[in-house]
C-alpha cells in the first residue's frame, strides 16, 4: 500500500513543476510517466514548463511556434498525427493586494465544462504560485469555522474564483513582490499524485496527464527502436497547448504540419469527446475550413476517469499501460487503431 512517506516523496519529486532528469526509455513505464506528469502544472497559456520537461523526456522533439512539443517520426507522405492536449484550466494571479493576499483570474476564463463546483476545490487548500523565481507555496483563505458560530447561517452559494484570496505568507504587497510574485503568475492546486487501490492514481487532471504519458511512453519507445516502424510516410507526435481555450496548439499543427491523413487524439474521455465533436463546434470550424479539415479523420485514445474534473480525478494505471502499448503498436504500423 502507498504510505504518507511515499506521498511525501512524490511531492518532493514533483513540487518543482519541472524536471530535467533524463529517463531511460526501457525502464520507465507509461504508468510511471503518468504519476510524474500528474504532479506537474500546465495552466492554459502557461504550459512552457511542462513543454520543457517533455522536450527533455522525448529526444528529438522541438518546440513549434505555438509552443507545442513536436516530434516527427519518418518522412514524407502520408502524414499522420498523434497528439495529446496538455493544458489544464487553472488560474493566474489577477492582483497583488496591498495586504499581501493575492486574488485570481481563471485561465481560460470559462470553465463551463467543469461544473459549478470547479472553483470550490480551491477553498482552504494548498496551491502553488509559479513565480519567475520558481514555485511558491500558498493557501487559499477560508473562513475559520469557529468564527461562523452564532453569527447567522453561511451562504450556500458555491465558492468561486472571485472568493479566492491566496496567502503566501507575505505581510504586504511589497513582501509578495519580494518573493517574486506578480500578476499573471500561474496558480494551481498543489499537486500530490495519490495512489490507492491496486492500480489507481488520483490527481487533478489525471486523465489528461495519463493520456499524455501513454503517448509519451509510446513515442519514447519509437525513438529508442527506430527500425520497428513498418509504416510508410511520417507520423507527427505532438503535445499541444491551449486546447482548453481555442485549440490553438492543435490547429497550428494542422496548418503547419498538415494536412494529415488521420489524426489521433489521446485524452481523457471528456476531452477526447470534445475534440471528436469539433466538426460541429463553432470554435474550431469558424477558424475556417482548412485548419480543421487538415486534421483529417479524428480518432481518439481515451483514458477513462472516475471523479472527472475534481482534485481526485482517478485513472487506472493498468489502463494507462494498455493505452501506451496500443499507441506504440499504432506508431509501428501494426494496428490501424
Amino acid at each position: 500500500m502507498k504510505a504518507p512517506a511515499g506521498f511525501v516523496a512524490v511531492v518532493l519529486l514533483l513540487v518543482s513543476g519541472t524536471t530535467t532528469e533524463p529517463l531511460c526509455a526501457q525502464t520507465v513505464t507509461a504508468g510511471e510517466l503518468a504519476v510524474r506528469l500528474a504532479g506537474m502544472t500546465a495552466v492554459t497559456g502557461y504550459e512552457q514548463a511542462m513543454v520543457d520537461t517533455l522536450l527533455t523526456l522525448l529526444p528529438g522533439a522541438v518546440r513549434d511556434r505555438a509552443g507545442n512539443a513536436v516530434l516527427v517520426l519518418g518522412s514524407g507522405p502520408p502524414r499522420r498525427l498523434a497528439a495529446c492536449p496538455l493544458d489544464e484550466t487553472g488560474f493566474v494571479v489577477g492582483r497583488v493586494r496591498a495586504d499581501g493576499w493575492l486574488t485570481l483570474r481563471r485561465s481560460p476564463a470559462r470553465a463551463h465544462l467543469l461544473g459549478p463546483l470547479f472553483d470550490q476545490q480551491l477553498e482552504g487548500q494548498r496551491v502553488t504560485v509559479f513565480t519567475a523565481r520558481g514555485p511558491l507555496p500558498g493557501v487559499v483563505a477560508v473562513r475559520s469555522v469557529h468564527l461562523t458560530r452564532g453569527r447567522g447561517s453561511l451562504s450556500q452559494e458555491p465558492f468561486t474564483v472571485d472568493d479566492a484570496y491566496v496567502d503566501v505568507g507575505a505581510a504586504s504587497g511589497r513582501g509578495a513582490a519580494d518573493l517574486g510574485v506578480g500578476v499573471l503568475n500561474p496558480v494551481a492546486l498543489a499537486k500530490h499524485p495519490h495512489r490507492y487501490g491496486s492500480d489507481k492514481l488520483a490527481a487533478p487532471w489525471a486523465g489528461r496527464r495519463a493520456a499524455c504519458a501513454a503517448l509519451l511512453a509510446a513515442a519514447r519507445r519509437a525513438v529508442a527502436e527506430p527500425g520497428k516502424d513498418s509504416r510508410s510516410g511520417s507520423t507527427v507526435v505532438a503535445f499541444v497547448v491551449e486546447q482548453q481555450l481555442s485549440a490553438r496548439g492543435l490547429l497550428t499543427l494542422a496548418t503547419s504540419q498538415g494536412p494529415f491523413a488521420e489524426s489521433w487524439i489521446a485524452d481523457d474521455s471528456v476531452g477526447a469527446r470534445a475534440v471528436q465533436a469539433a466538426d460541429s463546434t463553432p470554435k474550431l470550424s469558424a477558424v475556417g475550413t482548412s485548419p480543421r479539415a487538415a486534421l483529417g479523420q479524428i480518432h481518439a485514445w481515451q483514458i477513462s476517469t472516475a471523479y472527472p474534473g475534481t482534485a481526485v480525478e482517478t485513472v487506472s494505471l493498468e489502463q494507462v499501460e494498455h493505452t501506451g502499448a496500443a499507441i506504440a503498436s499504432w506508431l509501428r504500423g501494426e494496428t490501424g487503431r
Partner: protein, 364 residues
C-alpha cells in the same frame, strides 16, 4: 486597559515585536513539524502521543504517564499551588460508520469543520496498522445545475469493489480518516499545515519542558496532553475529575482562532499573526478573571514576551475545571483558517507561546 467586554481588544506588552532570533524559530519548527505530520483523529491519538513522548526531554519522558482516558501527564516540581497546563493531542477528521457492499465507506465527522473542504480530496484510513490505507473522499453523488456549497454527504473510495475486500485491508467501523497532510513553510516565519490546532499547543508544552529545570520549580506544575478535545473536551474532563479542586489555576493552551484575513468579519478576534501569543480572555466556554489577565500580562512584560489579549470563539479544555472553581487562564496563538487543511501560523508566535508557558511554570 480594562475594557474587554465582547469587543476585541489587543495590546502588545513588549511594544514592537523584537526581531526573533532564528534559533527559537528553528527549534519550534523542529518540534511542530513532526507533530503536525502525525495523525490522531479524536479517539485515535496514540500516534500523536507517541510523537510527543519522543520529543520530550529525557527527564520528562521518564515521568510521563498515560491515564485510562488516554491523556499523557508529566508532573514537574512539588508543592502547592498546583498549576495545570493542558494542550490537546487530537485533530478533527472522520470515522468509518459503515462499509457498503460495494466496498465504499460511509463516514461520520469527528469534530466541527466544513465538510466541503474534504470533498473530492485524497484520504487516509487509519486502521491501527503502521501504514494507513489510501483512498479518496468521493465527490457528492449528484451535483445538479445549482449545487449548494455544502455537500449533504459523501463517502470514501479505497479502490475496492466489495465489503470483504475493504475489510481485508484492515478497515472496520470506527477506523478514523484524514486527508494526507504536510508541514510546509510559507514566506518569512510563517507555515501552513493541518492540525496546528492543537499541535502548536503541544509544541509549546514540549519546548517549555525542555527548558525547565524541574528541581528548581517552586510548586507543582502538571502538563497534560489531552485527548478527545474536539468531540467535547472529554480527556480534559477526565483529568479535571481526577484533580478536582487541587489546582490553583488551569491554563488551556489552544488555538486563538483569529480573524486576521480579509474574508473574516472584523468585529472581534482580530489578533494578527506574528505579533505574539494571545490570552483567550473570553471564549465560548470560559471567562478569565481580569485580575489574572493583568497578572499574566505583567509576567509577559517582565520577560519581554509579546502578548496579545483578545476574545474569540470556541471552547477550551480548561473550562472542564470550572465545576471545582479553578480559574481558567486560557492562552493561544493566532491561527488563520482554523480546522481547514490550510491553517497558517507564524513560528515566532509558537516560540513566544513556549516562553509564556515556561514563565508560568517558573514564576507565576
Amino acid at each position: 486597559m480594562r475594557t474587554l467586554g465582547l469587543a476585541a481588544f489587543f495590546m502588545t506588552t513588549a511594544g514592537a515585536l523584537p526581531a526573533q532570533q532564528p534559533a527559537p524559530v528553528a527549534e519550534a519548527q523542529s518540534v511542530l513539524a513532526p507533530l503536525v505530520e502525525s495523525y490522531g483523529v479524536s479517539g485515535m491519538e496514540a500516534p500523536v502521543r507517541g510523537t510527543v513522548e519522543r520529543l520530550l526531554p529525557q527527564w520528562a519522558r521518564a515521568k510521563a504517564e498515560t491515564d485510562t482516558a488516554g491523556n499523557l501527564w508529566v508532573r514537574a516540581g512539588k508543592g502547592d499551588p498546583v498549576v495545570v497546563v493542558v494542550a490537546h493531542l487530537d485533530e478533527i477528521g472522520y470515522a468509518v460508520s459503515a462499509i457498503r457492499d460495494d466496498g465504499s465507506l460511509e463516514i461520520v465527522a469527528r469534530g466541527g469543520f466544513f465538510p466541503s473542504l474534504f470533498e473530492a480530496e485524497p484520504a487516509l484510513i487509519h486502521t491501527g496498522a503502521a501504514t494507513p490505507v489510501p483512498g479518496v473522499f468521493m465527490p457528492r453523488d449528484s451535483i445538479g445545475p445549482t449545487p449548494g456549497r455544502t455537500p449533504s454527504g459523501f463517502r470514501v473510495d479505497v479502490g475496492t469493489t466489495s465489503r470483504a475486500a475493504a475489510e481485508a485491508l484492515g478497515i472496520k467501523v470506527g477506523s478514523t480518516i484524514t486527508m494526507p497532510k504536510q508541514y510546509v513553510r510559507l514566506a518569512g516565519t510563517r507555515a501552513t499545515g493541518r492540525s496546528f490546532d492543537d499541535r502548536v499547543g503541544c509544541t509549546a508544552l514540549i519546548l517549555a519542558l525542555r527548558r525547565l529545570d524541574p528541581a528548581r520549580l517552586r510548586h507543582e506544575v502538571i502538563f497534560i496532553f489531552s485527548v478527545r478535545e474536539e468531540v467535547g473536551l472529554e480527556g480534559a474532563a477526565a483529568a479535571a475529575a481526577a484533580l478536582q479542586g487541587r489546582p490553583a489555576r488551569v491554563h488551556a493552551i489552544d488555538t486563538f482562532v483569529s480573524a486576521d484575513s480579509p474574508i473574516e468579519p472584523q468585529g472581534f478576534a482580530v489578533a494578527p499573526i506574528g505579533r505574539g501569543p494571545v490570552v483567550r480572555a473570553l471564549d465560548n466556554s470560559s471567562v478569565t478573571p481580569p485580575a489574572l489577565v493583568d497578572s499574566l500580562a505583567r509576567l509577559a512584560r517582565a520577560r519581554n514576551i509579546p502578548l496579545q489579549i483578545g476574545t474569540t470563539n470556541g471552547g477550551n479544555d480548561g473550562s472542564t475545571f470550572a465545576p471545582w472553581g479553578v480559574p481558567d487562564v486560557a492562552m493561544g496563538w493566532p491561527l488563520r483558517y482554523s480546522h481547514s487543511p490550510a491553517e497558517v501560523v507564524d513560528l515566532r508566535d509558537v516560540a513566544h507561546l513556549a516562553d509564556v508557558v515556561q514563565a508560568i511554570a517558573e514564576r507565576w
